[in-house]
Amino acid sequence: MRPSFSIIFFTVMSGAGYGLWMIVGVALALFWPEVSPGKGLTLMRYPGLYLYGLAAGFVLVSSGLVSSLWHLGKPARAWRAFSQWRSSWLSREGVAALFTFIPAIGIAVIVAHDAWVMRTVGNEFVIGGTFWFSTTAFSILGMLLAVGSMLTVFCTGNIYACLKPVRAWHNRYVVAGYLLLGIYSGGLLAWALCSLPNGHMRGMRWLLAGIAVAALAGALLKHFYWRFIDREPDATTGDATGLKSLGVVRSFEQPHTEENYLTHEMGFRIARKHSRKLRRIALVAGFLVPAVLALLALFVPGSWRAGAWIALVPGMAGIFVERWLFFAEARHTVMLYYGAR
């Protein structure tokens, strides 16, 4: 399949954004932020990660969604895509993406409101629970944000996994891969954001341990996925035409002299030539380097701040390579009619 940049950018960026939102949501709900009592108020200390995470997630998710519009022939009609959620995973993804903005905006509104009130309270950079509902609301909105984010990525994965004509997509590794890599790249981002001023987060050790585990799990998943798609596909031109029982079927004349939409879109061949090297690059840069740095950060005190950005850059680059391969290596059944094997 032709790896179109808009879709690769969309799936990597919005995947990372939703992963980040998932982590922010879970952190809000479970690792209730450090609080200190104020004048009749509960104050959230070090809100940095939540602010940065929400904002960065918003930028990534939105830019990803906007980039996916570039893929459309008629972007102005994109609103119609929310209508067929009963049958279409693409439509479900749109609905889930829209839904996930609601808790994100809710959290942002509360944070902004509190920041406005807090200006008058003290000189410490704090954001507090000025409303009775703040602690509870943060938990509920955090959970909704996490669930919505994962649902959206789940739908993204299923868009590909439901396509039976593409063997490299129609398998159980695909949805798991999208979810795992989304959370993993979101974790790398959260780690980097924590190293910014005021970016402290409770449960930092959990985050680092999670990154290391997710990196190893991701590498294993991709390893098994690649082993699966490398197994010889059993279908031939004879199967596609139904002429197999008359003998070996070979295409000797194409229906058209030039490329058409099908051969352009589904007959992409370059990747297979370099796939070994690219897979190794994706594994080492995308998973092994960040995993080693995360483990280092866990056991060598003080190294987590420096390691964060060093891990993020190769990590994201590796995931871009992985996503490019995901499209470029996939073969479509229709190419059997054109004599592909």
Partner: protein, 276 residues
Amino acid sequence: MTSLPPRARRKLGLVIDLDTCVGCHACAVACKEWNDGGAFGPLPDADPYGAEPNGVWFNRVHSYEVAGMGNGEWGIGRSQAQSTAPCSSTISDSPFPIPASPQTVHFPRSCLHCETPACVTVCPTGASYKRAEDGIVLVDEDKCIGCQLCAWACPYGAREFSARRGVMQKCTLCVDRIYNETLDEADRQPACVMACPTRARHFGDLGDADSDVSKLVAERDGYALMPELGYAPVNRYLPPRPRRDGTTAAKAPAAEPIDTVQMSPLLRWVDRVLSR
């Protein structure tokens, strides 16, 4: 709605005879001609007279060489096909002998108007739909956003994206001909069927067991393409009949020996002149 309608009794579709198709592309050209000006057109080409013309065609005619299985005995294809189940071809039970020598099969490929088409259910906008009354799969070009997911979902390559128009286009089974009361009744057939010079294409209701096309399918062991994928195509293909394989072909008459000595000198001279 991209949810599928309940299974209709009527299943309009095509039956394509691979035995008589000569690969002339008349169906493809007639289709392009009608649909460029029909209700679902136009079908504009990019660079139509340039070096790399590119555009939407609803019909594509492939040509294949089918190598013979070697000895022309009955049942070889059957045993081989059964051993590779479940991907075995649907004509493995064909009672025809397997040809010993290679043959050419021309293979027109177009929308099969499946009973459970994934191209319809993946559509996020409702632009793709299957008609409840006759099972024709269509695209509403005013709703299509051009996401191209339906083309990915179709294993038969029935859908092509029009870069010029920004929407997906596909075979309409000439829905603007078959119900068109301004045409003579005899002309209310898809353009490809009308154009075929060898009558290799037949149009009718495959949901009706008594229809001409259903009888033809039953008589000639018509088969569906890749039924194992589960889309339940409506169109049927009729397998090629067995060809003469060289052993049964009529021999060219051998040269008869002539005794020139018994001939008259005139005839001997004529024979010598003509034998030069």
